[in-house]
């Protein structure tokens, strides 16, 4: 790494994040399970495998249309376990709370976590609470870790995409990231949009049942759909073709993106998944996805190809073509 100090971009889920992870964390923690860099660890056990994942939630504001940091924290880890093919069962919760934080707010957050956990069918079985002095953290941060067993017949990995596979996106892009942005003080939008924060384990279970041969499941969180697809293309060493016209975005969300100069392809989602499915099971997978309450707008957005390995190419809406690269750093509102 060239930089001497941590920049916000190192946490953006984009390239600098990858650089940080690859140049500092991976070499240090050096092991094959971690290096797989799935959404969680897939751990062989005596009988079977476990999916194990962790995520820390530092969202600001902590309450936003469509959820709060509490249910988001449950959804996030439930989803990462589910993306590994695990059936999420147990979560841990690590709270960091700023001195002076309102207990009433904490109660709301914790109630949301409980509700989200119940809805997702997971139990929060261990936890830890730290309080730091006023000013040493911003209100509240939440870590969740969780695991679940992976059914024997399931084998998911970002490195398993194959030419011919079809790519499913389970719904509109960018709802979460744009919602959060519109809540920031200085932007002052009034928008009928809300975060898509949701647990997707029911959806993944249904999809895996209908299409047990699915190659890859990923939730396109930080970095968005664009970055997630690039990651898969690189890990599987395959090319991807996607179609701009099939990438669903809510019109209001698109309005905000236009005004601020953001590309929804790189904006975070918290209740969407990408599935890469062998062609013979693709329709079944899509159908199962669409049956789910969070997957009604699911559709095929493209295919895996043998050409241009490691690269994602988009057919633009007007019929041109362009590369889709990973996000570099956090997208900022811009005028140009």
């Amino acid at each position: 790494m060239k930089d001497q100090s941590i920049l916000l971009d190192h946490g953006s889920g984009g390239k600098l994040s990858n650089e940080l992870i690859n140049s500092i964390l991976m070499p240090a923690f050096d092991n094959a399970i971690l290096e797989a860099q799935e959404d969680g660890a897939i751990i062989p056990i005596n009988q079977g495998r476990l999916a194990f994942s962790t995520d820390t939630f530092v969202v600001d504001p902590i309450f936003f249309p469509g959820g709060n940091i509490g249910d988001l924290a449950v959804h996030g880890t439930v989803n990462d376990v589910a993306m590994c093919g695990g059936v999420p069962q147990y979560l841990s919760v690590g709270l960091i709370i700023e001195e002076g934080f309102e207990i009433s707010q904490l109660k709301i957050i914790v109630a949301s976590m409980a509700k989200a956990a119940a809805a997702a069918g997971v139990r929060i079985v261990t936890g830890d609470t730290k309080v730091v002095p006023k000013g040493a953290c911003d209100k509240i941060f939440i870590n969740t870790s969780g695991f679940g067993f992976i059914p024997d017949e399931i084998n998911l990995s970002a490195s398993l995409a194959k030419p011919g596979d079809r790519i499913i996106l389970s719904g509109n892009m960018a709802d979460h990231g744009v919602t959060i942005l519109t809540q920031r003080e200085s932007l002052e939008f009034d928008a009928p949009i809300q975060s898509d924060s949701a647990a997707l384990n029911t959806m993944t279970a249904a999809m895996l049942k209908a299409a047990p041969g699915i190659h890859v499941l990923r939730d396109p969180t930080r970095g968005g759909v664009g970055t997630t697809l690039c990651e898969i293309a690189k890990k599987s060493n395959i090319g991807m073709k996607i179609r701009e016209k099939d990438l669903p975005v809510d019109q209001s969300v698109m309005g905000v993106c236009d005004l601020l100069g953001l590309d929804p392809l790189y904006v975070a989602n918290e209740g969407k998944l990408l599935a890469i499915v062998p062609p013979e099971q693709a329709e079944a997978a899509l159908e199962a996805c669409k049956q789910d309450v969070h997957g009604k707008k699911a559709r095929f957005i493209g295919e895996v190809v043998a050409d241009h390995p490691g690269q994602v190419v988009m057919q633009t809406a007007i019929g041109g073509a362009r590369m889709v690269d990973m996000l570099t750093g956090e997208q900022l509102p811009r005028i140009c």
Binding site: L187, P192, S252, V256, L259
Partner: protein
């Protein structure tokens, strides 16, 4: 050079306008634009309305482009 997005004005109070962009509303500054009215589409750049979209001109451009297209389709 300059992102500017067409948005509908739904309210004007002095120099403070409200735009609606597919359901998203935000206040903008109207100080640089004379004669804009509620219902107009304006171009918004950096929080300021800078131009009213001329719908007749828009239609005319579209017609022109469509004519070209049709001519070509007829040819092809």
């Amino acid at each position: 050079m300059c992102l500017a997005i067409p948005s509908k004005i739904v309210d004007i109070q002095g120099v403070v306008g409200t735009i609606d962009l597919e359901g998203v509303t935000r206040t903008i500054n109207m100080a640089l634009l004379e004669n804009a009215r509620v219902g107009d589409y304006v171009l918004v750049h950096a929080g300021f309305a800078i131009s009213v979209i001329d719908e007749a001109e828009a239609a005319q451009s579209l017609d022109l482009i469509r004519e070209l297209a049709e001519a070509s389709l007829a040819e092809g």
